[in-house]
Subunit: 363 residues, 4 copies
């Protein structure tokens, strides 16, 4: 079994680092994989925090230098869990060192960075993947399967919102996600990116043009001026002819993590809300919506876990993501979503940002 | 009591005629009103059908000539329930004859017509009102009350959709609602008009600019070419600074009459779906949403009907509309929404139609 | 048309009187009936109140003497809407006078009274019906149709609750519904009777034995001692082998009119809650539950009203009840539920009351 | 840190073994504990399967002899995950050997066994706990906290159902859960036990008497005669005066794991359904029900995991259970629910089984 072991190094130990660690630690207990990950090293800026994180989350070692992590011979996979402003530098260096790279979303803070990353990925010997974890919600994977099988017919409408409320309190200080230099954008890049990816993934259509608006309602916070959007919304057209409507906001009081998507096709409709993540609502031929608990053995990913009705949680989406990534590496195929997919999302984000209400095509 | 009687004549006996009749026939059994309507005469193009409608719906007489209806001395109120292409002519004639006019929505098929109607209303001695009945859903009237009282703080987001699926079957023939010459527009004017009115009513903010798209997916039907939109969607900005997102479609399989609106304010949120019309969902200060059954004695309109939990239906919105109209007439005040309000909705509809993705201001 | 007219007299003008009047006034506008009701006379104890009720609700005359009402030649139908303690006397007198009788539920306050009523009905020339209006909710009529057609297979479980909270406030005074001499029993007879009827109606099985408990939590109220149950619950067996579970309470805080029933059969399940009365939830073969909006033309009663998705309210159940009653009279058939059915419900209520936890068979 | 390490041995590697393993493997990554579990050894009847389970689930060793597991000096905790017929023998042996014991529910297959286990626990130096994991659903732990704080006032009604449908197919063979010799009872002991425990836990009241019924609808299956109940239902009284209603069935088509409980108190109500396990519905003072997403930092257990709205799954209930067990061991307190609590549940189960409709007191 030793020869199938593949070493993993992770950069970042905050929220994303914790949930990725959980996935790396558990994936082999539930899925039969062609390679077996070994959690070699975690990297963080503070030595003390990195050491504690390694111990707690199950990493064999730690470092404060991501370049050192990349240089290690026993690390074949680099998992980039840092804020967006450092994605390009780390991911490109890792790819150039021949590593496989899993990079958190959004791929980068700018289109220019994302382009360089996609180029590096295209040239690299390692596999690369961007971490749009919501594709791996079983209900959304099932939605994709149904659309791909033609069960909904021609998709005509896609509408998606991602509603949170964690910045509703004006006394919340200026955390990094509210600073353009660190986060690139606000709700748009943080959560809007997720619904763009999910919408394109499930519908099988690309967004080809948008009219967008962004707004910052709370302009000053303890710590300084907010330099990103609080909310972004746009409508547009998709490559298969569907209309699309999107909204991302962190000021929707009472909505905690409401990633919602609804598709209407010529034969049926689908509806999903992450706040009830184990459910997919399906309508065929104009009939009422059926609440499908996506926990049956034949549903994507679900068979590896518990009996029907014994639902999964947020963290499992990452376990599934890493399972798919490891399978692609082991089988010598390209994982999805690729850096090119991530770049495409980045182009949509940029188009929304500069639209200011005008229709803007995505190249 | 005789001196308080006010004669009513209604033009049109189809869907809207039926539900208006139901409201006229029952309003006095539940509400104490300053005037008492007498159902004098109904007008329709076919003599036989008009006679049958009069008998069935409780009108004392019938006619096939709406001008004759307007000329009658014992008719003080004219209720216009025809398709949009005849609204202007009938309503203006009635106003000029000194009648009170209740006109179904949308006010007209074009801004030009609506302008003439609003002018006539401004000059008239009679009262006038446009029939945006959904304002009179108790839950939406309660929503308006809460927003007006400041319970949600500053409204930042308004998102509304109106989803139906009754034209999903491509074999559905070219009924009048699918012809531009009769209906003016498709989903946009028919159901989009409702969510525009409801959004402005509940939020207390006007839509001041939009970027919109429309689409016709099923271009040919038995009977000819479809000349209106199947779906329309737009984003925009509102006078109080809120962002707005709207979508109207009749191709959302499984959605029968899903008029939905959600508002997010600095202090709380509201959510409503007409398919569960007796419920208003309320969140305060970021807490969970509370399902309020809007059937309590203190809720708008509800106290006149049945005990808590014994819900109302679609037709009651018209009974409430007519109750408010009669109160305004009896009390000598201007009913709401006025023809000027209807004109404003018309301007939004037109802006969406000509936007083609570009940001378009509403004058 | 005159020869088809049938005169109606109604005894009682409170809550039930109001909603029955609404049904009598509107039924012919929506349904084609073999006979046409004429609202002749209403009877109440107070002359002033009876006169006002007649005027408001559309009755041609009024009286304070129900015997006089029964004697009138132009009254062929007597509608009994009084509290349960006077049902037997009025209904039997009306039947003996050759009238058709619609009697509110529960049929009587005791089994002895109900037996006398059922006997009178069996001997009478007039038709008789007991007012279990919830059978006429379109969703429950559809449920019955599905069970009768075998779509659920053999029914194995019936569980029903009827939850209200209007006596939760201990300061609520001792209204007649809290007095055994007027109401017969508390939650049991008032709302428990409804779920017994609905369960038997939908499942097509009779309750054949019960183990029941009753409880009075608030024993003293302004006005005196509470002499009825606040809550009643029982389990039992049904004639087709199903298990049954029932609970009726007026102390379920937050539940306003939650008449709920769920059936599980060998092929599928149904679920209903009156607080969302236009919805029936259906599961086939272990699949997820589908939310059926029971507003389609092919659904029971619904086609007479509005387009799909434009829901009905509480009062429509009475309109449907009276429609069915008038059809039975006009067609010379026996309406359902009969007084014998009402007696059977009464026997179940009595068995629950005397069970005190012990299994009690229903004869 | 070494001195705080505590060795764990687990008996059983099927469904419960897998989910317990997941909990043991992850608990320290999320909770700060006074002792640190080391996964020493897993025991199963088949050597090959035990070895594979050890490798996959993270156990250092394996054995086919549970007595050997108990004898090991480096094992201080014995986790019993076998079917109910072997609980007593293994747990008592482990307790007598001075081990701490976590035993899956139901505690035993008979009251006699459970009594011996509770006696052994009372005499033992080790700590003991029975695995009613649903107490550790954050929403139910929050429910308990609210009731204990008096937020609902006096609890008057408890109603709970546990609905599944996995034996609906008559071709499902006679698995061990359908055999009385292995499982003790059917739906009653398997899932009915859970709602008994949850109801008593949340309400803070014990069940003191029951009237119960059980039924086996599918009497023969491939493999032989079914010797346990398919469904069990009972009503009863609780120590604080509440009425109680319970139903457990595996024949509720479309319900996968619907553990539901609703409580009504003098001040408010709570409602929960495990199929939406991250939600608790709360009503205060007769107001509407609020959907609380139990994922906030201040909610039980939730703060250790992900941000608000990023829900948990089934397996986390076990992680919480083991966290509480380890804390009790480390802090020298008695974990809950105790074997005495498990015995009490067993007495209720037995009372239901022998009730046959008659009221039966629980001693």
């Amino acid at each position: 079994m030793t020869d199938r072991t593949i070493g993993v190094g992770m950069v970042g130990y905050a929220f994303m680092g914790r949930v990725h660690s959980q996935a790396w630690r558990n994936v082999t207990a539930f899925f039969d994989l062609p390679v077996t990950p070994a959690m070699r090293v975690i990297c963080g800026r503070s030595e003390k925090a990195a050491e504690a994180a390694a111990a707690r989350m199950g990493w064999a070692g730690f470092t404060t230098d991501w370049r050192e992590l990349i240089r290690r011979d026993d690390v074949q996979i680099v998992d980039v869990c840092t804020p967006g402003d450092s994605h390009a530098e780390i991911a490109i260096a890792a790819l150039e060192a021949g590593k496989h790279v899993l990079c958190e979303k959004p791929l980068a803070n700018t289109v220019a960075e994302a382009e360089r990353m996609a180029e590096a990925a295209a040239l690299a010997t390692g596999r690369s993947m961007v971490g749009f974890n919501y594709r791996r919600v079983p209900a959304l994977a099932l939605a994709r399967r149904m659309v791909a099988a033609g069960e909904l017919g021609e998709i005509r409408h896609v509408r998606a919102v991602y509603l949170q409320d964690w910045i509703m309190d004006p006394e919340l200080p200026l955390v990094w996600r509210l600073r353009k230099d660190k986060a690139g954008s606000g709700a748009l890049g943080d959560i809007g990116a997720h619904i763009i990816d999910v919408a394109q993934f499930v519908s099988g259509q690309d967004i080809v043009g948008v009219s967008g608006l962004t707004e910052t309602f709370i302009k000053e916070r303890p710590g300084g001026r907010v330099t990103v959007d609080d909310a972004a919304l746009f409508i547009g057209r998709m490559s298969g002819g569907a209309t699309a409507s999107f909204e991302a906001t962190r000021l929707a009081g009472g909505r905690k993590n409401a990633l919602r998507i609804e598709l209407n096709g010529s034969l049926g409709s689908l509806s999903f809300d992450f706040e009830a993540m184990n459910e997919l609502w399906v309508s065929k031929g104009g009939g009422g919506f059926t609440r499908v608990l996506v926990t049956e053995p034949e549903h994507p990913y679900a068979g590896a876990w518990w009996p029907p009705g014994h639902g999964l949680g947020y963290e499992h989406t990452f376990t599934h993501e890493i399972k798919d990534f490891l399978e692609a590496i082991g089988n010598g195929t390209d994982p999805s979503p690729s850096f090119a997919d991530g770049l495409r999302v980045q182009r949509v984000l940029e188009a929304v940002e500069r639209s200011d209400g005008a229709y803007t095509e995505i190249l």
